[in-house]
């Protein structure tokens, strides 16, 4: 049945999820970061009683509100799509997603939605302190929501804390803390959250630069820049640090993604790190076209050093991973496919034996699933079994996309660190605003953190392909069996809706920004 799955169904289902997730992620990082920035601003207002800080808080709160609404309405789409377009995945991961999702809904969403109403409508209805507490709780609630969905995503990248249950044909959780506190989950949370803080900080600095360039609301803009740049520098440093750790983890847990993001085909010791480069697809290599560099600038030994902290470390390339490398102990995909296929066949036999009441056969097959050695040799490659009789190239992610996403993200990250450090330094010396060109750089930087943030998600998700759950469940088995036409139709409806809402959002935002903070 899997062999006959139409790739256009997978492509359209993936395109739809990518479209909705990327659109959602335009608004979420800004609200995650702004919520805390607003909370800090309001704290200063409550502590000093200075009305100027109230105006500053209320301006940024308005920007927050415009983005929050659209973030919420696009968030529900993702939850529904797990079921509508990836139903087999929903069943397969339901047991692991269960706890994080329940906690997210019960604790984070309600906290956020309850206190956001107080934050918006409570200015004259509740005490200053209760209002401030509500603003903080909104920020905490918003960021708590992010924790759980990131835990779930980290599990898809590196499925830990679970065991396969042949009776239900899915993985079931055995240790909540292993899932919740896995290295991947902690790192992913820190990296995503701090990069969102960075994004919000750059927006605050950029919009403030706009006011300074027009010589309007100068005090407001300078104070906003101080808060934004303090936040920005701290966030940039943690983002870069966790990004580095994340790359090392990818190298260990997902070597194919790592090879793709560096476009490394032949593995080697003393592997160089490509700092910048451009590629062209060599389509003459049938059936496995590959990407060749037109030019590249690289640092010798740096890639090996990045992964192993020593230049002599062997970094496997795409070819090593697909065709195997005996010397390095890397099993070829063909072998993994055979072993995975055997695990799938055993599971089907088990189900049949159970249905026809063949106790002896059932017990003998069940014994395999209880045998750690067999599980390690066969079940570990379960997902590969779906690729029996399918082209091997389906197991290689899009190299170009991974390479560019990774490098764009890293280069922009460095730019953000430099800009926030300069903004903070000059703000503290009360000289931010003296150099017009710097203000222009800050203003023009506004869209760039979105480019970096989206690139990061493209790398995380496209780099994991073809897996939905790494090495256990590929997209071909996770997708809902719909007609590709149905998914195409909803894709275009989503695109049209999002385009319309996005135009409305941008127009409202720019009008509000031009209006500036409320007059005294």
């Amino acid at each position: 049945m899997i062999e006959s799955i139409d790739t256009s169904l997978i492509d359209w289902s993936r395109a739809q999820f990518a479209l909705t997730a990327m659109f959602h992620w335009i608004f979420v990082p800004l609200t995650l970061g702004l919520s805390f920035i607003i909370a800090f601003m309001e704290t200063i207002y409550v502590r000093t009683g200075n009305e100027e800080w109230k105006r500053i808080t209320r301006f940024w709160m308005k920007i927050f509100g415009i983005n929050f609404a659209i973030g919420v309405s696009t968030g529900i789409i993702l939850e529904f799509e797990f079921g509508t377009n990836w139903s087999n995945y929903s069943w397969f991961v339901g047991d692991i997603f269960g706890a994080p999702l329940a906690i997210e809904g019960i604790m984070a969403f309600f906290m956020e939605s309850t206190f956001i109403a107080v934050m918006f409508f409570g200015w004259n209805k509740v005490s200053k302190r209760f209002h401030l507490a509500s603003t903080w709780l909104t920020a905490i609630g918003a960021n708590l929501s992010a924790v759980w969905i990131l835990v779930a995503n980290a599990w898809m990248q590196n499925p830990v804390g679970t065991m396969f249950n042949p009776e239900t044909a899915r993985n079931e959780m055995t240790n909540f803390w292993d899932v919740f506190l896995s290295d991947m989950a902690v790192n992913k949370f820190l990296h995503t959250i701090t990069s969102s803080f960075l994004l919000a900080s750059l927006v605050v600095i950029g919009i403030s630069a706009y006011f300074l360039l027009r010589n309007k609301h100068v005090l407001f803009a300078k104070r906003s820049t101080v808060v934004g740049s303090v936040f920005g520098v701290i966030a940039a440093l943690v983002t870069i640090f966790t990004g580095d750790t994340s790359a090392r983890m990818v190298a260990q847990k997902q070597p194919m993604k790592f090879a793709a993001m560096e476009a490394l085909y032949e593995g080697q010791t003393h592997a160089p790190l490509v700092v910048i480069g451009a590629m062209r697809t060599d389509t003459t290599r049938i059936p496995n076209p590959r990407e060749n560099f037109i030019f590249k600038f690289e640092i010798p030994n740096a890639l090996s050093y990045m992964v192993f902290l020593t230049p002599s470390g062997f970094v496997p390339g795409i070819t090593d991973l697909v065709y195997g490398n005996e010397e390095q102990g890397i099993m070829p995909y063909s072998e993994k496919i055979d072993r995975g296929a055997e695990a799938i066949a055993t599971l089907k036999d088990l189900k049949k034996a159970k249905d026809r009441g063949d106790q002896a056969r059932y017990a003998s097959l069940m014994a395999k699933f209880d045998n750690n050695e067999w599980m390690g040799e066969h079940y570990a490659h379960f997902g590969y079994g779906y690729y029996k009789n399918r082209p091997l190239k389906e197991l290689i992610p899009n190299v170009k996309l991974n390479f560019y996403s990774f490098h764009i993200m890293v280069i922009l990250g460095m730019h953000f660190l430099i800009l926030t450090v300069i903004a903070l330094y000059l703000s503290l010396k009360n000289k931010w605003g003296n150099h017009k060109w710097l203000l222009w750089v800050a203003l023009l930087t506004i869209p760039l953190p979105w480019v970096a943030s989206q690139a990061g998600w493209v790398l995380a998700e496209v780099g994991r392909q073809p897996w939905v759950v790494y090495e256990l469940m590929p997209t071909i088995s996770a997708v809902t069996r719909l007609s590709p036409g149905a998914v195409q139709l909803t894709f275009w409806i989503f695109l049209a809706t999002f385009t319309t809402l996005f135009i409305a959002e941008i127009k409202i935002m720019t009008t509000q920004i031009k209006k500036g903070p409320e007059e005294k």
């Binding site: 209320r58 609404a69 309405s73 968030g75 529900i76 789409i77 939850e79 529904f80 797990f82 079921g83 509508t84 990836w86 087999n88 929903s90 069943w91 339901g94 047991d95 692991i96 997603f97 269960g98 706890a99 999702l101 329940a102 906690i103 809904g105 019960i106 604790m107 969403f109 309600f110 906290m111 939605s113 309850t114 206190f115 956001i116 109403a117 918006f120 409508f121 409570g122 200015w123 004259n124 209805k125 209760f130 509500s134 239900t168 044909a169 079931e172 959780m173 909540f176 809902t480 069996r481 719909l482 149905a486 809706t497 409305a504 959002e505 127009k507 409202i508 009008t511 509000q512 409320e518």
Partner: protein, 378 residues
């Protein structure tokens, strides 16, 4: 503490929680019902703004409850989530679109340069109120009428109709519940207006509309309940797990679970009492009686669907593919873990009540929506 419970007890506990969320969702759909009156009760721009703003302070609760209801179902009964959402694709997509346009409409309708104009966003709110309530009602009705799907050995769903759930939305039995939910949410919306708005014209029109909407609500409710009691239901043999059709199954469930019977009757009295009180006397508290009544009625429907050896998401195409509380749930370990989280629910309800009161302690009036910059206006 939860570790000592059996897997079945935990499954039942979570079915109760999911049902409670579903019941709260139906109550909170007073927001959707209220949205359908934007044009008929809001005759001027200011009146429409009052209506939208009184609902706007609560829309997020409904939205969040819907998301949590979906999330809790996904978490505790993932096979239901996979089967229903993956199967009835078009129905869930329509519900989804109805909610996507809601959230932005509140925030954007009165903002300058909102691209589509206030009228369009108000139409979005109206559409959300109409489509959201009817379709959620028809989707829940399939818990009794069944859907046409089958599951293979890997529990992958195959939906047996090309219309992907739309056929269920047009089934008269399902539609009777859909329309019941629609008119109930309108009635609750009106009672909420009486509770929160201080505006003579609006309240006068609200009272008139209350009677006009209470009548079809009662009619459709009776049609649904009588039909439900008379129809065949999907019984599960507790020993073998085999599903079969049983005449008058839901009537049997009602009589075999007297507590549910009492809950249903109390709920019906609460809903009707709240309406009658509001029609006959000048009171703004009808919403609380009808609200609690709604929660009890919906809870009892969920219990009729899932307890007493009944398949809560039956397949009319292949009876043995039907989903029960037992065959569609998460593992014991996951349910235990989630159960600890559920202990936070009373605490959450307490802070929701506190925040609700602090925002609603004064009724909304014309001066509030035309006030200066210290008020956030939708």
């Amino acid at each position: 503490m939860f570790e000592n419970l059996s897997h079945l007890a935990l499954q039942q506990y979570w079915f109760v929680i999911v049902s409670l969320l579903g019941a709260l969702l139906v109550f909170l759909m007073f927001v959707q019902g209220g949205q359908t009156f934007i044009f008929s009760i809001g005759k001027t721009k200011t009146q429409r703004t009052i209506i939208v703003n009184t609902l706007g302070r609560k829309w997020e609760f409904t939205f969040t409850t819907l998301v949590t209801f979906g999330g809790a179902f996904f978490a505790s009964f993932p096979l239901f989530y996979a089967t229903s959402f993956g199967g009835a694709y078009w129905v869930w997509m329509l519900i989804l679109f109805a909610f996507v346009i809601q959230a932005v409409s509140y925030e954007y309708r009165s903002k300058a340069s909102n691209f589509l104009g206030q009228k369009t966003f108000d139409v979005f709110l109206f559409t959300n109120g109409l489509v959201g309530t009817v379709l959620i009602g028809t989707a829940v009705a399939t818990f009794f009428s069944g859907s046409q799907f089958s599951l293979n050995e890997m529990n992958s769903v195959t939906w047996e109709t090309n219309t992907r759930g739309l056929e269920a939305a047009l089934n008269p039995f399902n539609l009777s519940l859909g329309l019941t939910v629609f008119f109930l949410s309108r009635v609750l919306g009106l009672l909420y207006f009486m509770n929160t708005i201080e505006h003579d014209e609006i309240i006068e029109r609200t009272k008139k509309q209350l009677f006009i909407n209470a009548v079809p609500f009662v009619v459709f409710f009776l049609v649904f309940v009588i039909w439900l009691m008379l129809r065949d239901g999907y019984a599960v043999d507790p020993e073998t797990g085999i599903v079969s059709l049983e005449p008058f199954k839901y009537w049997h469930n009602l009589t075999e679970m007297p507590l549910v019977f009492v809950m249903l009757l109390t709920g019906v009295l609460g809903v009707l009492g709240g309406i009658a009180w509001s029609l006959l006397k000048t009171t703004s508290n009808g919403i609380w009686f009808s609200g609690v009544g709604t929660v009890l009625v919906v809870l009892s429907f969920f219990f009729l669907a899932g307890f007493n050896n009944t398949a809560f998401y039956p397949s009319s195409y292949d009876l043995q593919s039907s989903l029960t509380i037992q065959n569609s749930s998460s593992s014991k370990f996951t349910l235990v873990t989630m159960s600890y989280v559920s202990l936070a629910v009373p605490f959450i309800l307490a802070y929701i009540a506190y925040a609700w009161r602090s925002i609603n302690n004064k009724k909304i009036d014309e001066t509030e929506v035309t006030a200066g910059e210290d008020t956030h206006i939708y």
